[in-house]
């Protein structure tokens, strides 16, 4: 039975067509994957199905009935729920408060026969309801924990509970595995299958093709706002899907040359680097490693295990409480960002529009930021506009950046081109060390190829690179050595050439190879 059908669904933003006459149909009880590149229009489509955006044209049928949603509430009333990639949870509230947000249970008071409500929330009743729901789906979390204290996997469960409480039949998941460990992903797939067994319909938006192959029943491919393929999962392959998404054959793996760095000079060295967050907890704990000349060291790990804080420290935004950093045997601990750049360290920050670029500033201004005091551009405290524009022209050319309007703002660029601005700016400073964090997050496959190749080119020029990424495949493709971070510490190191996903996955979950059996044992005993 067709539970969702769209007919010529179209969404325009000004002149830009985000979705063009989309026709899809989803059968009841199936797991439907919707794949496409970043910016292909997947999210726009889902936001229309979930009532967050109104279609410009076209119709949505739910169980054969023409439906119009004005808000997510309408969608939920029609049985559609959505689990966003970035969870819509309130950190300071508890699990039960988050699950019931918007549908609070109120206390009623009685005086004699008359009952009335002071609009006070009935805490006990709320805890009871949510605990029962958790039990029913076997979710293994506590209703009274605060969101800020629980793991990412548990948070995702809260999001799912939120929807289940509202009795939805159709669950939309937007990039659900982006923040999970390989093992958590397996648990998540189990949850999906359980939900399916209970008769729910699932729509999975993703760009990870292995996952599509593993868990879905059918696939719809979207490219540039249009449906270009409807396939049954069992009849297709990752390769075919990738070709459909990009429009050409894609090398899913770059050419990487492995060498032995044993005898090379140490360029970068960390000794017991430690820092605290505002609550006084050590978020980075005693991190030590070194990078040799020409080597790429990757740091893998589930997001939120101290990578961001480590990066902030290494880029000079956050102070360390103890430990030392050396660049070519010169101590650079707690150097400010300006002095780090002067010492020939370049950065590709984790959050592009937060630390890397300023959306509301001009492209040329962003192209010199961080190096705007260099003699090349700035004399006696004044910046030469001509030299600034010259540099822009030169780098746009050199790095093949597609800019429709050179006098425009950064906000006019696509994610990939914006990232290339950072790459051009940082590579042009001819650094001894590059610290690259999530270099390809949110950019399309073409740009990923480009960025990966330029990082490898930098390596070929004998530069050292620290690569921090939550995309395991990215690290496995680029790095020579992989360090895994867990709860603020480096929990293990593997040789990239021979590493397996599973091996790294266990480390990401905090399980050391040598202590694995022991841990399992202990668990068995406590049970």
């Amino acid at each position: 039975m067709e539970i969702i059908k769209t007919v010529n669904l179209t969404k325009m933003f000004g002149d830009f067509t985000a979705n063009n006459k989309i026709n899809i149909s989803v059968n009841a009880g199936e797991i439907k994957a919707i794949v496409g590149e970043n910016g292909a229009g997947k999210t726009t489509l889902m936001n229309m199905l979930y009532g967050l955006l109104k279609p410009t044209d076209g119709e949505i049928y739910i169980k054969g009935n023409l439906t119009k949603f004005d808000s997510p509430t309408d969608a939920m009333a029609s049985g559609i729920g959505m689990v966003h990639q970035h969870f819509k949870l309130v950190p300071s509230l508890t699990v039960y408060e988050n699950v019931l947000l918007g549908t609070e249970i109120l206390k009623t008071h009685k005086i004699g026969k008359k009952s009335f409500s002071l609009r006070l929330i009935d805490k006990q009743a709320e805890i009871k309801v949510v605990s029962e729901l958790i039990k029913k789906y076997n979710f293994n979390i506590s209703a009274e924990s605060r969101i800020k204290d629980i793991s990412v996997g548990a948070r995702q469960k809260v999001e799912i509970l939120k929807m289940l409480y509202r009795d939805v039949e159709i669950l939309i998941f937007d990039e659900p595995t982006a923040v999970l460990t390989p093992q958590e992903i397996l648990t998540f797939f189990e949850t999906l299958r359980t939900l399916k067994k209970q008769g729910k319909t699932i729509i999975l938006i993703t760009h990870k093709l292995q996952e599509v192959m593993e868990v879905s029943d059918s696939v719809t491919v979207i490219k540039q706002g249009e449906v270009i393929g409807n396939l049954l999962t069992k009849d297709t392959s990752s390769k075919e899907l990738a070709r459909l998404m990009v429009g050409r054959d894609v090398l899913l793996k770059v050419d990487k040359e492995y060498r032995d760095y044993e005898g090379k000079d140490i360029v970068y060295r960390l000794e017991g680097l430690t820092t605290k967050n505002n609550d006084g907890i050590n978020v980075v704990n005693n991190v030590s490693f070194s990078i040799r000349q020409g080597e790429i060291v990757g740091i893998a790990g589930v997001e939120g295990n101290g990578q961001s804080e480590l990066l902030d420290m290494l880029t000079g935004v956050l102070k360390s409480t103890s430990g030392k950093v050396y660049l070519k045997e010169r101590e650079i601990t707690n150097f400010w960002p300006r002095r780090l750049r002067e010492s020939k360290v370049a950065f590709i920050p984790e959050d592009r529009y937060e630390k890397g670029l300023c959306q509301e500033m001009l492209i040329c201004e962003n192209m010199i930021a961080g190096y705007h005091g260099n003699e090349e551009i700035c004399k006696y405290g004044f910046i030469s506009p001509k030299k600034m524009l010259d540099k822009l022209d030169r780098l746009i050319d050199e790095y093949d950046i597609r800019v429709s309007n050179k006098d425009g703002l950064i906000s006019s660029l696509s994610g990939g081109n914006a990232q290339k601005i950072i790459i051009a700016r940082e590579f042009d400073s001819n650094p001894d060390l590059l610290i690259a964090a999530q270099p390809t997050r949110g950019v399309d496959i073409g740009a990923i190829e480009y960025i990966h190749n330029s990082i490898l080119d930098l390596q070929k020029a004998n530069k050292s690179i620290l690569l921090v990424s939550s995309e395991l495949s990215e690290i496995m493709n680029l790095a020579d050595r992989i360090l895994v971070m867990f709860k603020g510490s480096i929990i293990g190191e593997v040789d990239a050439k021979n590493a397996t996903r599973e091996e790294i996955g266990f480390l990401m979950a905090g399980i050391r190879k040598d202590s694995k059996d022991e841990k399992v044992d202990r668990k068995a005993k406590t049970n």
């Binding site: 933003f13 000004g14 002149d15 830009f16 985000a18 970043n38 910016g39 997947k42 999210t43 726009t44 936001n47 955006l53 966003h84 990639q85 970035h86 937007d174 990039e175 938006i205 880029t315 000079g316 935004v317 400010w336 960002p337 300006r338 002095r339 780090l340 750049r341 950065f347 920050p349 959050d351 529009y353 937060e354 630390k355 890397g356 670029l357 300023c358 959306q359 509301e360 500033m361 201004e365 930021a369 961080g370 705007h372 005091g373 700035c378 405290g381 004044f382 910046i383 506009p385 309007n405 006098d407 906000s411 006019s412 994610g415 997050r441 949110g442």
Partner: protein
């Protein structure tokens, strides 16, 4: 592409003019309440201050401190620092200059005037140090601190002027310090109200123009106001720059206070800065001028014209001169919203945001 730029400028002009028009429309209601004709009142307001030479020179004279206080507000607001202490810095500087202008009256004008201007600047800087330090070092909310310090500064100066014999001129009919010596007075040009001070301000203006538009500091001020994380990550050292910017702002305010004293007021009285005060006028001017130097120049002259005209309005009609502060408040109110934000860019931005969430 040129068309596109022209369009953008038109939008900019329109979004500046609309708040003024709306404010004048609402102001018209207030004028009708005073049983006068709005047209006549507005005509007097503008014609007396802009459409004759004498009035125009007077307007420029009044514009001089306003340009400085507008710049003082703009450099800090643009960097995302709400330094509301301009008013306190102006009156402190005025007070100290009044005192020294009387006590050092024997010095020759060629020495005394530059000295007093310098003293004014230093006083402005000193008054800015505390909030600047607290903000830069400990992130203490600069807006609340500067505002509360304004009340404190005003009270102290009121006390000194009215109760301390060293400062108070007993021969004056109202609360006032001694009048500064004639060597401390910045001379007028010809028979007009305009003084050399205006030209000093213009020199400062040109310097500030280049500082804001071309300098490394200007670049960093712009970046700090737009994205603090970005600024810190690209090595701008926000805390240090916060200090610089707040002190620069104080210096400009101090110069404004000194100049106003030596070119117009000559003694410190309780209404030295007027109503609602040069510092507050500066806020309107900076906003109206979109925090750009040229914008501030135009806005300062425009507002000075209103101020000059307001006294004529009070003379020729029964509308109180307070109409001007009403208009000022209304303009600030309507300036806080963007009337003509480019709809297309807005939508594209929204879309970028939506995709940003998914990406």
């Amino acid at each position: 592409m040129k068309k596109w730029i022209e369009k953008l400028k038109l939008t900019k002009t329109l979004s500046t003019l609309t708040p003024i028009l709306i404010a004048f429309l609402i102001g018209a209601v207030a004028i009708i309440l005073a049983k006068e004709s709005p047209f006549n009142t507005y005509y007097i307001l503008i014609s007396k201050s802009l459409f004759n030479i004498k009035g125009l020179l007077k307007t420029l004279h009044y514009a001089a401190p306003l340009i400085l206080s507008g710049l003082a507000i703009a450099v800090s607001f643009k960097a995302g620092l709400f330094n509301m202490g301009i008013e306190g810095q102006i009156i402190s500087s005025g007070f100290v200059v009044a005192m020294l202008g009387y006590r050092l009256a024997s010095l020759p004008a060629g020495v005394l005037i530059p000295l007093l201007l310098l003293v004014g600047i230093i006083v402005g800087v000193i008054m800015a140090i505390l909030p600047a330090f607290l903000k830069a070092k400990y992130n203490v909310n600069e807006m609340v601190v500067t505002l509360l310090l304004n009340y404190a500064i005003y009270s102290v100066l009121e006390y000194l002027t009215s109760n301390v014999a060293f400062f108070r001129d007993p021969s004056s009919g109202y609360v006032s310090t001694y009048v500064i010596g004639s060597n401390a007075i910045i001379s007028r040009i010809g028979g007009s109200k305009l003084t050399i001070f205006f030209f000093i301000v213009m020199i400062v203006f040109v310097v500030m123009y280049f500082v804001m538009k071309r300098s490394k500091l200007g670049f960093e001020i712009n970046a700090m106001g737009k994205n603090r994380s970005f600024s810190e990550a690209t090595g701008m050292e926000i805390q240090k720059k916060t200090m610089y910017i707040m002190l620069l702002s104080g210096a400009l305010a101090g110069l404004a206070g000194a100049g106003w004293m030596m070119a117009e007021k000559f003694s410190y009285t309780l209404d030295f800065s007027g109503t609602p005060g040069l510092g507050w006028d500066g806020m309107l001017i900076a906003l109206l001028g979109g925090h750009t130097p040229i914008g501030i120049l135009v806005a300062a002259i425009f507002y000075a014209a209103l101020k000059t005209g307001a006294s004529s309005v009070a003379i020729y009609t029964s509308v109180p001169a307070e109409i001007i502060i009403l208009l000022q408040a209304l303009i600030v109110l309507f300036l806080s919203i963007k009337f003509f934000s480019n709809k297309k860019t807005k939508k594209v931005k929204k879309e970028v945001k939506a995709n940003g969430v998914s990406a």
